[in-house]
Amino acid sequence: MRDVAVVGIGIMKWGELWEKSFRDIFVEAALNSLDDAGVDKIDSLVVGCMTGGLFVGQEHVGAIMADYLGQKNIPAAHVESACASGGLALRQGIFEVASGMSDIVMAAGVEKMTDTSGDGATYALAAAADQEYEVFHGVTFPGLYAMMACAYMNKYKVTRKQLSSIPVKAHHNGAMNPYAQYPFPIKIEDVANGVKVADPLYLLDCSPITDGAAACILTTVENAKKMKKPYIKITGSGMATDTIALSQRDSLFWLKSTEIAGKNALKMAGRKISDIDCVEVHDCFSIAEALVTEALGFFKPGMGVKAAAAGKTALDGQIPVNPSGGLKSKGHPVGATGIGQVVEIVKQLRGEAEGGRQIKGSPKIGMTQNMGGSGASAVVHILEVE
């Protein structure tokens, strides 16, 4: 296998972008990644998108995006693993470069979520859960994570205020991110003073509905060196799955797919969890961030929320988690989220994070964790400065 590097990243301002179409948001981010890499032609495109079909009635996403990007006749694939589609696109792109099948690959993600009603979006997102044995009974995605939170908080005696510290930290970081959907700080009491969505979760525990895209350019490390541009090496990739239905898990708050994907990525990179300097994780809900940091091994079982409340995941903490603002503040255009995480880690490792959110001490090793549904799939990557 050939060693693979990221030589370009591209993102755009995420949000409710009524004036921009599905294809245009993709092309905007994709062009930014080409410009960043100094490349105008790619050999192949891999696009992560959860469900263009349900959100905008558009499938055949690989072909339409290659066409509008002006990359005529190249091979293009659309990959899907619910909200982990972006992470999966990166993983498939790595395989293509590592195998020698392509030299320059764009791994991207896109989702246009606001061309439908709130109810339409709820329906589309629910397609990532077990339709026949969960959604049928009336559960929603906030409902699934609320059930994890209920069991977890009961077992480990976690308080509502401790949990609220997670979205507060997200908005603190996101306020410094010019590409974030909600770039403003919130106060800890705002969370439980808000609208209750599914007990014990409030609106500010939940990531928003977002239009957005992100892209990165992959090539071999050998090529990257010739390009004389700063490059970030991808040293580890792991993916794993779990039961589609939350009810079929012995532990309702242990994210097994994340644990396995994380271990495999670390093994491939020859690293241990304490080597990681910064991480972007899938905080689709406040509780998810805590459970992920436990499953990856940053904190012991039961300590994820308490560690966050103690400031251990802040920009200057023991392990900065979601310096970008996370899904909560930056936004969660489901198929684009996994690539958005890569964009942030590459910025942090290059020392280019804007607005004062650059982690001090020049981080050298970063990690991304992207998750589908209620944890039925997870993708983890490790990126390093060489």
């Binding site: 709820t122 959604v135 009336g138 009961n154 599914a198 007990d199 239905a245």
Partner: protein, 131 residues
């Protein structure tokens, strides 16, 4: 929900039919074609117990539109004594008094009425067992 889908799922939804692996005894609801524990492919039909314990729950306050008339409503996961777990709505209860560990009884109820195909769908719901 499309009528054929409701019709196909009647055994598990209406009669609470599950299957048990003829080799290792693991129980599956809904029934499956291969055992994920031992790989065996032969199963025996069993009926689920009618009581379980609440493992976790939530109260849905912003539901999908077909459930909007019922919100707020509780939904949870129960565990039977044979180790099987399942999700369902919790009804005939005080939402403020639900607790993990409570005993729940299964009852046959209507689950969805606002269906684009005009089909009423029925399945289990959980009712707290106060006595």
């Amino acid at each position: 929900m499309f009528p054929s889908r409701i019709w196909r799922e009647m055994p598990q939804r209406y009669r609470l039919e599950a299957s048990t692996c003829k080799k290792c005894g693991k129980i599956f609801y809904p029934p499956r074609l291969i055992c994920d524990k031992c790989g065996y492919r032969k199963f025996e039909k069993i009926n689920l117990p009618e009581e379980g314990k609440l493992k976790t729950f939530t109260v849905i306050r912003t539901p999908a539109s077909q459930f909007s008339d019922e919100a707020p409503y509780a939904i949870g996961i129960i565990r039977f004594s044979n180790g099987l777990q399942m999700m369902g709505q919790i009804v005939d209860c005080d939402l403020e008094k639900l607790k993990i560990g409570q005993a729940m009884r299964l009852e046959f109820r209507r689950v969805q009425t606002h269906d684009t195909h005009g089909v009423l769908s029925y399945a289990h719901k959980f009712v707290p067992k106060w006595y």
